[in-house]
Symmetry: C2
Subunit: 190 residues, 2 copies
Amino acid sequence: MTKGEKTRENIIDASYALFSMKGFKQVTMKDVCEVTGMSRGGLYSHFSGTDQLFEAVLEKITEKSAADFQKEIEKEIPAAKILESALHLMEEEMKHPKDSLSIALYEFVEMTDSDIMEQLNRNAEEKWKKLIRYGIKRGEFREVNVDEIVNVILYSYQGARMWSRIISMKPKTFRSITDHIRKQLTGGER
Amino acid sequence: MTKGEKTRENIIDASYALFSMKGFKQVTMKDVCEVTGMSRGGLYSHFSGTDQLFEAVLEKITEKSAADFQKEIEKEIPAAKILESALHLMEEEMKHPKDSLSIALYEFVEMTDSDIMEQLNRNAEEKWKKLIRYGIKRGEFREVNVDEIVNVILYSYQGARMWSRIISMKPKTFRSITDHIRKQLTGGER
């Protein structure tokens, strides 16, 4: 990684923290300068504004998680094992509502014309569909209705993440959602 | 209903429309005066501020929906029939993202100390648990893990409602969620 790339990554990570804490509207380029210790000119040489920054944050999150499934499938790692890591990660994320970008996403979509969310949602769908089809092909997963299960996975996760910012939720609530997904796919308990 | 009660209901309905459109923060008592055609004094004789108004909106929604299940159970209406109406209503609500209070809920909770959301969430849980146990007792529903299914119902619904404000979603997506819930409970297709 070049020094420029490293700086870019640092800016993205610092921005993620700001967006999850404050939403999209209330984050300014000045805030980003402050937390990264960069000059205005330095920051603008990487990003033209908070719109571009937010898109970079979303892309980073998605690339990271999409790449994971694909790589593991290519290595022929058992589907049940890939699923287990994914459910574990989901549970961890649900337990940390403060890291959720939900509010920022809302605000971003209301304020911009970006279609990045459609793209990200399709990526998430495709990623899960691939894993489920792979699991079915290997005889590890039941012959479920793929579209249906993918929707249940994506939206129950999103709903729980959103509500965990509104009310305090117990870990066993998150656990029951991942248990449900596991049972649907493998028929088994954890 | 007395004239005062009727006025109160009108104010609540008008406020619901404002909150779902604009969120919580951006709605003022002046907005409510404008859409209801009331004077400032008239409005304040019913509600002390937008906090109280928002709580009244939430209470109205919840009471209405909780009362429905309870009444039907007392009348010994088949659980599958009660479920069908509830799923139909969920689908209709998911198809109308603009009526969703999600953003307003977020903002309300961030800005106030109200614990009304915890209360409302518990009510929704209790209501569904009652229906599912009733269905199991009548032999209409499968012996599901009640807590798990209730969480899947509540959060997949909330997640889909939230995302339908962020991206455009197809009716078949909502349908697949209600189909999933039906299959879990009755084992059958629509």
